[in-house]
Symmetry: C2
Subunit: 209 residues, 2 copies
């Protein structure tokens, strides 16, 4: 265990790196010593990209995706189908679905899933803003593209009931090509792309008596 | 494979993190999304610590260790034994030896080991400056504390021959408590501390006929 640092600057950098998830003190020291060895410009580029990220990044006021401006590049794209909203848990899921190149609609980022165990209730998620978006009209279909976990299913049900008042709205969910119990982010993009194309009516995804 | 980023700022940050050793694109994205979620002040602290590290860090002009000033805290400490110089490969090894609290002398950081396979020759290391330090006088002992690998042994020999001209200089090496073939940084500090106390004359560490 290293308890002695020759430089306060070095120790600060190791401390800060060590706060990242999955980065222990040994890894932090290795990364910092690497930064010291390499071209100063490359180390500065990393530092500045972190600061700019935090200062300048926006969240789209329509879909709550990460954005460089007030409205994200997807919501402001006239070629996208604004009548189809794909509901996802987080920003990463938007990126994963975009990478399948199978979806031309727009998104709605919830910012999490309902999880009583973690103290996350519907009010902490962007569910009310989704209902408002649908109420304002111009939406034909809402695709629920959440992970097939207990939290995902709970959130699906909650949103389904919230949107039940809109008689002409089609509520669909991803085709069950995604294995039950799997996280969305570990699904390969071919399976995920197909499950978007073959999406089914929400009510069809449960066994009928 | 994610090929679509909603934000240029996000993509820049992922690109920069992905250049760190052992950090792939998936890990980089995970770290960046973590930075986005947490308190902005903590992300800024990381970014600034990296930039300050690169702008403000010095290398000690005597021993070439990392330092916050022109002379490092060890070389400028009058309580240290300046007549005993411990030669190490890099800055990390100084930290590792300091953590044993068994050594009260000063250091000399080579900046690497002689390694013809990697194209590293003696002239790229701080060997001449070590000889100059000894020539200036006031040094009783040089401890060679390099890894017990082929590169470490080669460098040991090279330095030993360079310092042979100083008749009254004692040249020692770490006691062979360190297993042959092991990297110094993976040695536990008890073993390492004992091997500093039991250091042997350089000529004694080879089998006699």
């Amino acid at each position: 265990m290293i308890d002695s640092y020759p430089s306060q600057l070095l120790q600060n950098a190791v401390d800060e790196f060590g706060k990242l998830p999955g980065v222990g003190r040994k890894t932090a020291l290795r990364l910092v010593l690497h930064l010291l060895r390499q071209d100063p410009k490359r180390s500065e580029a990393l530092g500045e990209s972190i600061i700019r990220l935090r200062h300048e990044v926006h969240y789209c006021k329509a879909c709550h995706n990460i954005s460089d401006s007030e409205t994200c590049s997807i919501c402001s794209d006239p070629r996208r189908d604004h009548r189809t909203i794909c509901v996802v848990e987080n920003v990463k899921d938007v990126m994963i679905i975009e990478s399948t190149h199978q979806f031309s609609g727009v998104y709605h980022v919830l910012g999490g899933l309902i999880s009583p165990m973690d103290g996350i209730g519907p009010s902490q998620l962007e569910i009310d803003s989704l209902v408002t978006r649908v109420r304002q009209g111009g939406v034909d279909e809402v695709i629920l593209a959440l992970s097939t976990t207990i939290e995902g299913d709970t959130t699906n049900f909650y949103i389904f009931r919230k949107l039940a008042e809109f008689a002409n709205l089609k509520i669909t969910t991803l085709a069950r090509g995604v294995s039950v119990g799997d996280e969305l982010e570990y699904t390969d993009s071919v399976t995920l792309g197909r499950s978007i194309q073959n999406r089914t009516l929400f009510t069809h995804s449960f066994p009928q008596k």
